[in-house]
């Protein structure tokens, strides 16, 4: 009993770290750039496949892929925001109109990225073995690669939070999240800051993909599944709250792990139940303002 409880908690934390990372990325894109990026999961997939390809073709250590995947997805995200979403933003008559059109455009992005991935890599499931041995913690057994993923996710999450609080660009991001127009009038180059946010959001998804690929099988259409979970985490933690997404990720991970241990096929249903409950009881989320 105690061991199975420990198993649930450890599994939940391992899963939650990845959820937290992806959700912080989406929160940056939606909370600041106001783009509800349906293609967010595709950046996870890109990160995962680049890592897999690098490892299986060239023998590059998956953890080293961080420095390859990071810049690639950052540049893709940055360019998408500067071209597609900036023009949508300037031509939209109002904020809600922009949120609508940008979400629809991101649906398009989802299929474009997914189809390109299918052409390059085919539709098969892929996996590789990296640090795939068991660690025994008080009776609970889990793969070493999952612990690596959790540690990296936590370190990246905390580093990003410090970046937001401590640096000038971080302050500009927080100001832009509250009121982009006023931030612009106070001297912040708003188009640049939004593109930076979108790029950084993509980086978090991409890096989560790197870690995911070490632990789970990957396939080109995997993005949507993670996007759905991420949306729930963002709402749970509170829109615009980076710490909220971080905490929310772990909470959802724990819930998922608990439900899965009882009835695996009900995990997603449980997420959605919580999601709907939350929309009714506390639509702002845990740390939302």
């Amino acid at each position: 009993m105690l061991v199975s409880a420990l198993n649930i908690v450890i599994n939940g934390l391992l899963l939650g770290g990845l959820y937290a990372l992806v959700a912080m990325g989406l929160n940056l894109q939606y909370g600041v750039a106001r783009v509800l990026n349906i293609a967010h999961g595709e950046f996870i997939m890109l990160g995962a496949f680049i890592t897999w390809a690098m490892y299986t073709k060239f023998g590059i250590n998956p953890l080293l892929s961080i420095v390859i995947v990071g810049p690639i997805v950052f540049i893709i995200g940055f360019i998408i925001q500067r071209t597609l979403f900036t023009s949508l933003r300037t031509s939209a008559p109002s904020q809600p109109a922009f949120e609508g059109s940008s979400m629809l455009a991101s649906f398009g992005l989802l299929f474009i990225i997914q189809n390109v991935a299918l052409i390059i890599w085919g539709g098969d499931m892929r996996a590789y073995s990296y640090y795939n041995f068991g660690i025994n913690l008080g009776g609970a057994v889990f793969a070493a690669n999952r612990l690596i993923a959790l540690i990296f996710a936590v370190v990246i999450g905390i580093a990003f939070y410090i970046f937001l609080v401590r640096t000038r660009i971080g302050k500009a991001i927080r100001a832009a999240a509250e009121d982009p127009t006023t931030a612009g009038i106070m001297g912040v180059n708003i188009n640049l800051v939004l593109a930076l946010c979108f790029g950084l959001g993509a980086v978090m998804a991409g890096l989560a993909g790197v870690f995911l690929s070490m632990c789970f099988p990957i396939y080109p259409v995997m993005g949507l599944e993670y996007l759905i979970i991420t949306l729930i985490v963002v709402v749970l933690g509170g829109l615009g709250s980076i710490p909220g997404s971080f905490i929310g990720g772990f909470i959802l991970g724990l819930i998922g792990s608990a439900v899965s241990s009882w009835q695996p096929s009900l995990a997603l249903a449980a997420y959605y139940f919580i999601f709907m409950l939350l929309l009714i009881i506390r639509p702002k989320g845990i740390l939302g303002k």
Partner: protein, 239 residues
């Protein structure tokens, strides 16, 4: 010499001219008032100057350089700062950080962290908010939020400050304090262009006053001239 000039500045919203063919100028070290009934286009005119919206047609020049078509952050860095009619402080950031944002991004040259901290402390002291450094801006009273907006705008080291209704909703003592604040900003060498409804204040501090009505400039002159102008009296009191 004029620090700010506008020629034929016009802005339509739908079919309605919010500002219509307005020529204006503000001279170095002047305090110029902009008055007019609600909906006269005063804030819209300010928005065209701070590049929040683009005039069409019309040209605005700052220190002889055309600023029409520039981005808001560029105009800010050239030396034009502003406050807002409906207060727009960053609610979730402490008072001190609000001011620092102006000095980090709004100044023409990059400012070191230590310089900007010192500057922010001085400015908060100048507007009388030094005791509230760490308070979240959203928790301040309206009067203090307006003062904070002034400090934040000054942190960008402007040569021209646009003040949009600093005194609305203030009591008599607070209005007197705000008038003193405005003159002491000018004494720092900063030119001021201000929208104000409180007549006592506008008559007391301005060197010159412009009157807008339905987006059209209907009068301009010294406070004395404007106060005795037949057209202005008709607009304000009805015919």
């Amino acid at each position: 010499m004029s620090i700010l000039e506008g020629e034929g500045v016009t802005k339509y919203f739908g079919g309605l001219a919010a500002v219509s063919d307005v020529d204006f100028h503000v001279d170095q070290s002047e305090i110029v008032g902009l008055i007019g009934p609600n909906g006269a286009g005063k804030t819209t005119l300010f928005n065209t100057i701070s590049a929040a919206i683009a005039p069409r047609p019309g040209v605005i020049r700052f220190k002889g350089k055309r600023i029409t078509g520039l981005k808001p952050y560029q105009v800010c860095r050239m030396g034009i700062a502003r406050t807002f009619q409906s207060v727009k402080v960053f609610n979730n950031m402490p008072v001190f950080e609000n001011v620092r944002l102006g000095s980090f991004f709004g100044t023409a040259t990059r400012m070191s962290s230590a310089e900007s901290a010192k500057e922010a402390e001085e400015l908060l002291d100048f507007v009388g908010l030094s005791a509230m450094n760490t308070t979240l801006a959203g928790d301040l009273t309206l009067v203090n939020q307006k003062r904070l907006e002034v400090a934040r705008a000054l942190a960008t080291k402007p040569e021209l400050l646009l003040i949009d209704e600093l005194m609305a909703g203030l009591n008599n003592t607070e209005v007197a304090q705000a008038m003193k604040l405005v003159t002491s900003i000018r004494d720092k060498g900063i030119t001021i262009f201000m929208i104000e409804h409180v007549m006592k204040a506008i008559m007391g501090v301005c060197d010159r006053i412009m009157v807008l009505h339905h987006g059209v400039k209907i009068a301009e002159g010294t406070p004395q001239q404007v106060a005795t102008s037949q057209t202005v009296v008709e607009v304000y009191l009805g015919e």
